[in-house]
Amino acid sequence: MLLHTAPQNEAILSNVGEVGDFKIKASAKAFAILSSGLYANKIRAIVRELSCNAVDSHVAAGKTDVPFDVHLPNDLEPWFSIRDYGTGLSHEQVTQIYTTYFESTKTTSNEYIGALGLGSKSPFAYTDNFTVTAVQNGKKGIYSAFINGQGVPSIAQMMTEDSAEPNGVEVKFSVNDRYDYSKFRDEARHVYTYFKLRPVVTGYNGFDFIDVAYDTENIIPGVHSYKNSYHSKAVMGNIAYPIEIPNADKVLGELRVLLNCGLEMHFAIGELDFQASREGLSYIPQTIEAIKAKLVAVNSALTSVLAKEADAIDNLWERALFLSNKRSQDLWKAAVGEYVTKNKPALVQLDNNRYWDFLQSPKVMVDELAKKYNISVTAFSHHSGGTTCTSLSNDYDHEKQADGTVKTVYYWQFNVDKGTRFVINDLNIGATERAKFHWKNTPRDADDRGSHVVYVLSKIDKTRPMLLKQFFAAINNPPDAWKTDASTLKQKERATGSLKNVTVLSLQERNSGGYYRSKEMVWRDAGKADSFDSTKTYYYLPLTGFNPISKVSNGFDVKRFFNDLKDCGIETLRSKTIYGVRKGDIEFIKTQSNWINIEDHITKELNSIDNKLTMSLVLQAVDNFNLLSYNDNIVYNVEAVDSPYVKLVKQFKGFEKIKYSEQSLKNLCRMYATHVTFNPQTTVDKFVAECKEIYQRYPLLQYLHSAPNHEVGAYINLIDTQKGVN
C-alpha cells in the first residue's frame, strides 16, 4: 500500500554550524527490535504477515482466486509453513530485497497489503531459523535464514536447481515447543477470519475457520454489525484492527457510541494508517477522518430509517416514547439526536445528552386545570412487583414576581411513559380508591418494569362537565387507549360476612440489616381470616391503613407497644402474636369469638394480676443479689425467730423471679390505667422500701451472695444479736 509518510518539508537553515544526519546502526539489537520486539502477539504476527505476503504475491501474479497453502505444526510434522503460488522470487530478490529491512516492492500501489518491508522477517520473532524455498520461472532455490553468532540475521543458499514446480514461495520453520501447536492453530483461526479467500490448511484434521455472525449486514455497504459484540473493528486488506481512537468522545461526539455497537467497517487498502506491527491502527488525522466519515454515513443511513419509522407514528406521545426507546440503544442514539434536532417533535428534547431529560412531560398549572378545564387531579404510582400504590401530590415552583416577592405555583406534570393512564371520574365518590384497587389487582407483563403513574381526573364544579378534549389537546393528546372511565375499573368486593374476605396482617420485626440498629416493625400479610384455626384464639389491633386504632392512645407507637408486651413479664401477654385487621372488617371480626381485641385482653390481664404474679415481679425488682428469695437453708441457720430478714423473706416463700422490664409494665399500666384497678407497681414500690431497710440493717449482706448458706445465717445472727430483733 501507499504509505502515509509526512510530506518532506524543506528545512530552511541559516547561521548554523555543522549539520549531520541521524543514522540507524545495523546491530543485533536493532534487528531484534525490528523482527521480534515489534510484535506483542508473536505467533499471530507471523501467521498474519506471512499470509499477507502470500495474498500480495497472488495479487501481483493475478491469481486472486487461487488459495495459498498453510501447514500447521503437529507431533509428526512439527513445522509451520506457508506456500504461495504467486510470482515467486529470484535469487537476487531473495538475497537483496527479501533480506533487507524496510525494503518493499509494494509501496507504489494500494493493491497490496504490505509496504513496510518488515513482514517477511517476522519468523525471527519466534525462531532463530527459517527456510525460504523460492521458485521462479523454472528455477528453484532453497535458502536458510538464521540469526548468526553476532545476533545478526543472515541467509544461506542451501540448494539451487531447475524445477518444473509452479512459481511461488514457501516459508517454513520448525516449532520447537509442542504446546505452541495449538497456539498456531488458534492464531490461524483468528487471522483468517477476514481473509476473502481462505487458505488450504493442512496438519490439523479438525481445522475450521471462524464465520462471523452478523446482526445486520450492510447497514451501509461495507459496514455490518456483529451479533453479541460491543467492540468495533476496522477491516483493511484482510486484516481486522480494533478501533481505539484516543479521546474518542471529543473527536467523534455523539457518534462515538456507535463504536459500542460492534460495527465491522471495511476500508480500502491505504485509507487507514496502521502501526508497524499491524496490531493496531495508527491514529493520524487521516485515519480518524476516514473512520469518522464512515460513522457519519452509517448514522445518516440510520437516521433516515429512523425518520421513516418515527414519522409513521401519528400519536405524539407514542412517537416520543419510540424515540426515547431508540435513544437508549447505542446504535440509534446519534440518529435520534439528528432526527430530533431536525424535526423537533413534541414531548422530547435534547439536553446535554442527559438521557433522563430526553422525554419532556407536559406541565399544566393546578389553577389553570381548575379554571380552564374544571378538572382536579389526584394521582398515584404503582410499581412492578409491588402490591401497593403510592399517592402523589402535585409539584410546585417558586416564581419570582415583578415586585420581587416570590410566589409558589402548583402544577401537575404528566409523565410521558408507556404505563401512564388517565382515569376519568364518572362516579360520585371513591374513584381514586377504585383505581388503586384496579391497578393493584391487574397483573403486569413480565417485561413491564418500573413505576407507572395513574392520574384521576375529577370535576371541581360538579354541575359542569370537565373540558377533557381541550385538556388532552393541551398536553398533546395522549393515546385514547390510555384513558378509562372509573366506572369500568375493577371494584373491590365488600366484606359480606365471610371470613375469606377479611385480610389479616401480622406485626413482625423486620431485620434492619445492621447489628446495632433497632429492628423496625412492619405489618406483613398473614392471609385471609378463613385460613386461621377457628379453635384457637387470636389477638388483633384494628388498623386504618397501617396505623392502629387504639382505644386509649392517640399517638400509638406500635413498636413500643410490641416491646412493652414482650417485656412486661406477664406470660399471657408477652407470648402473643399481634394481628392487624382493617377498619372495614372490624365489625365482622368482632362477631368472631376467637378474635379478641388485644387492648381488651391487656386490660383484662392487668386486672387479673394475682398475688403470685405480683410477688414474682416484686422479687425480680428487688432481689438483685439472689439473697431475698426464700431460702430454707439460710432461714434454718438464723436463730432469732423474729429476725427482720426472716420476716421479709417469708413473704416471698413460694414465689419465683420473673424477668421483666419495669418500664414496660409501667407503660402498659399507664396506658390501660383507667381500666386497671390494681397496679402491681405500687406493691413493688412498697417492697423496694422494705428491702432497702433490710440492706441498711445488714450492710454486708449484699456481699455474701456467693457465700455458703450457714455463713449468711451466721452474719444475720451477728447483726440480730448486736442490733436486737425488735
Binding site: D75, L76, E77, D128, N129, F146, G203
Partner: protein, 264 residues
C-alpha cells in the same frame, strides 16, 4: 552423498533432494539426526529427519497417519496410546510390547471397558509389559491378604482370578465386587499405615470397568498377577514406558531395563 545442512540453536535444517527439512530439539528424532550428521551417516539422516516417516517405520505396518492423527490398523488410536507409542519410540523400545498390548486390548469383550481403560491409562502413566499387559498398584494387608475381605492372598507370584461376569461392570457403582487395582493417585485413599503395596500385572483383556470416583484412579478386573511388592517410593516405581515390574530391589525379576538398542 552429503546433504547441505545447517545446525543452529535449537534447530537443524537439512536439504535432501529438492526439499528442505527442519527439526527442533524437542522433536522425537532430533538427537538421531544430530548424531547421524556428526557421524556423516547420510542414509540415517534421510531416514530419521521426518518424524512421521520414523513413526510409520516404527509401527511396522500397524500404524498409519492422516494429518496429525495416528491410526492402528485403520482404527484411530486413542491419545493415551499414541502418546505411549511416541514415548516408546523416543526411549528406544521395540514396538512389540505395544503390538501385544493392542492385540490383548482388542480381545476385551466389552467396548465400554476398553473406552474406560483408555481414560485410565491417559490419566495415569502406567507402564506396559513386554508381553502386552500393564502394571498397576494394589494396596494389601500386611500379610498380603486383600484389605476389603481379608480372604484372598496377593502375595507376589499369586494369580488372582474370578469369573468375569461376577465383576461389577457399572462404572457408576464405585465400590463393588471385582479384583481392584489402582494408580498412584489412589494409594493414599485406601488402607492404613500397616498396609503394603504390591505391583499387579493386568492383561487389558481382563479389565471390566473403571469406577468414576477418584478421577479414574482405580479399576476392576477379573484376573491379575501379583508380580512384586513395591520396594521404592511409588513415584519412582514406573519410569519407563515398558517395564516388567516396579523398580524394586527385593522382588526385581530382572531384565526389564536391558532392552537392546532398537534399530529403525
Amino acid at each position: 552423498m552429503a546433504y547441505p545442512y545447517l545446525i543452529q540453536g535449537k534447530n537443524i535444517v537439512v536439504v535432501i533432494g529438492n526439499k528442505s527439512h527442519t527439526i527442533s530439539k524437542t522433536h522425537i528424532t532430533y538427537q538421531k539426526v544430530l548424531d547421524a550428521i556428526k557421524a556423516g551417516d547420510w542414509d540415517t539422516v534421510k531416514d530419521v529427519i521426518e518424524p512421521k516417516k520414523v513413526v510409520l517405520n516404527y509401527g511396522q505396518g500397524n500404524v498409519s497417519v492422516q494429518g496429525e492423527t495416528l491410526f492402528w490398523k485403520g482404527v484411530e488410536m486413542h491419545n493415551a496410546l499414541s502418546k505411549r507409542m511416541i514415548q516408546m519410540l523416543q526411549d528406544g523400545f521395540p514396538i512389540e510390547p505395544l503390538v501385544f498390548f493392542m492385540e490383548n486390548l482388542m480381545s476385551n469383550p466389552s467396548k465400554r471397558a476398553v473406552t474406560e481403560l483408555y481414560g485410565f491409562l491417559e490419566k495415569n502413566n502406567l507402564p506396559i509389559t513386554p508381553e502386552g499387559h500393564f502394571l498397576a498398584y494394589k494396596r494389601v494387608r500386611n500379610d498380603f491378604m486383600d484389605i476389603h475381605s481379608g480372604t484372598f492372598s496377593n502375595a507376589p507370584g499369586m494369580i488372582c482370578e474370578m469369573e468375569r461376569n461376577q465383576v461389577d461392570d457399572d462404572q457408576n457403582r464405585t465400590c463393588s465386587t471385582g479384583l481392584h487395582f489402582c494408580s498412584i493417585d489412589y494409594l493414599p485413599h485406601f488402607g492404613n499405615s500397616d498396609s503394603r503395596t504390591v505391583i499387579v500385572k493386568i492383561n487389558p483383556r481382563d479389565v471390566v470397568s473403571i469406577p468414576n470416583d477418584y478421577n479414574n484412579a482405580k479399576g476392576r478386573a477379573c484376573r491379575y498377577e501379583v508380580v512384586g511388592e513395591l520396594g521404592v517410593d511409588p513415584e519412582e516405581a514406573f519410569t519407563a514406558p515398558v517395564q516388567e515390574n516396579a523398580n524394586t530391589t527385593s522382588y526385581d525379576m530382572g531384565g526389564s531395563q536391558d532392552w537392546p538398542n532398537p534399530q529403525y
